[in-house]
Amino acid sequence: MKLLKMSVAALAWAVVLFLLFIPTFSPVSVWAQEAETVVAPEESADEMQVEQPAAMAAEAPASAVPAAAEEPEPTLDTGDTAWMLTSTALVLLMTIPGLVLFYGGMVRKKNVLAMAMQCFAITCLVTVLWMIAGYSFAFSGGSVIIGDLDRTFLSGMTLESLSGTIPESVFMTFQMTFAIITAVLIVGAFADRMKFSALILFMTGWSLLVYSPIAHWVWGGGFLANAGVLDFAGGTVVHINAGVAGLVGALVLGKRLGYGSEPLPPHNLVLSVAGASLLWVGWFGFNAGSAVSAGAGAGMAMAVTQISTATAGLAWMFMEWVRKGKPSVLGIISGAIAGLGAITPASGYVDPTGALCIGLAAGVACYFASTSMKMALGYDDSLDVFGIHAVSGTVGVILTGVFAVEAIGGTPGLLEGNGGQVVTQLYGIAVTIGYCAIITFILLKLVDVIVGLRVDQDAERQGLDINLHGEVVS
């Protein structure tokens, strides 16, 4: 019966995917109508140059780094490639084992393996999806709405394909690690209660239908890039996106058994500190890697990342110390992640003092969002994916519009007199939240119909480890 159910699920999965995708490519769909307005420059199928993220494109002219300005054909730079290979490893490190440990330490012991399983399995799943279609949807040109099918199964990606000064293979893998971590971030919001089969189905749809399009809009030459939204390394694409999807998931799945009435404490914060530390270290690849070169832009991105993170960590710690009497290690690591999330969109645009301000704002804002606000609103965002990622992402995207320094990222912000940038940033935020929330909701409801989203009460009480995976930590 289980087998039967699984087969049905697999079939349903295929069908759903198929159905969902028809409109994307059908010429009569709304999508395509919007797509009429598209200008797709230099799109020759054979020698296609993958688009650089908008962020990079925006930065290039202003930066002092010897980036191709007049030269029509950039050549491979081993230094840039070395850094991007490293950055790819660093961003993968953020998810495995970074998020495995960060999230694993925060759940109860009976659910820690299920959490690890979710993180690891999504890593595998999104890798394969990205190779099959996700990369093509996000970065293969296409319209301002979605890429096309030119790079499905990475066809056409040869040893000669370059993306700027690095091999396309490196760019593709680097971007893959972003697609992975965004999906994995979400699971913290509805930890300890989702069926594993449901998760796999949901994430398949989410990665292809939510992540890839938004990545395309912001980094793949899509309409948000065209609108001038500044998002260096993923305030919208990664953090707001994951945070909003998490919140929708937490609301649709409902609260954990016992939430509000019994203690659900983290079982081992040592793991979480180790995980947060790896997230921090790996984030150098995330942000400084988003410069797609080993130059001054990467250096400054690393410096501002470090400063924002530390400041936000201290900000949360002192907030808690003053308000609750004790500074906690869960608090300081939460603050650090908030600081990392907030500096993400800004890291190619602001200077160290801007980073200090952004870190401070993110630490304080996320502290309130994850404590008072969550309590007041009553939803069970178990590991505060919304309270930390969506909030810090929002703070960061807005403040990028405020603190952007023309001499660094090529675009001035509010403080340099360009108040309109803040409005553009708000537009980017609104689009991301709206699209992500709606599609996430639909996907969850579909999956609920197909296999059901939530484990039964006995399984939840005994723990997902033994029930879903037949394993325990002794």
Partner: protein
């Protein structure tokens, strides 16, 4: 005096504690134990190796109390710890001949 040893499901601990407290019982001691009984165990699978785990996590509560409180305590525990499914647990009662409060040296009922 008597000692009640109640073996219950772990997630019922908070409720039992509250129920006893409501009876005016001010102290108890909790053990994490594993129980073997009629309740079916789980299967764990590690690569090729499959194990049936029939020792299940339980909580044992020790409460020492005056003879007069025993029935009330049994009732209270039985009521809140009951789910009706196999594995709810047992209550054992045994005699205690002396109680000492270490802090004060008090003995007997007043030491509780």
């Amino acid at each position: 005096m008597q000692k009640i040893e109640a073996i219950i499901r772990p997630f019922k601990l908070d409720d039992v504690k509250k129920a006893l407290n409501d009876l005016g019982i001010q102290g108890l001691t909790v053990h994490e134990v594993k129980g073997f009984g009629r309740q079916k165990g789980h299967t764990e699978l590690y690569r090729g190796a499959e194990y049936v785990v029939d020792l299940l996590p339980k909580v044992k509560i020790d409460v020492v109390l005056d003879d007069g409180q025993v029935e009330a305590a049994i009732d209270a525990i039985s009521q809140v710890a009951k789910s009706g499914k196999i594995g709810d647990g047992k209550i054992f009662v045994s005699p205690i001949s002396e109680v000492v409060r270490i802090r004060t040296g008090e003995r007997g009922g007043s030491a509780l």
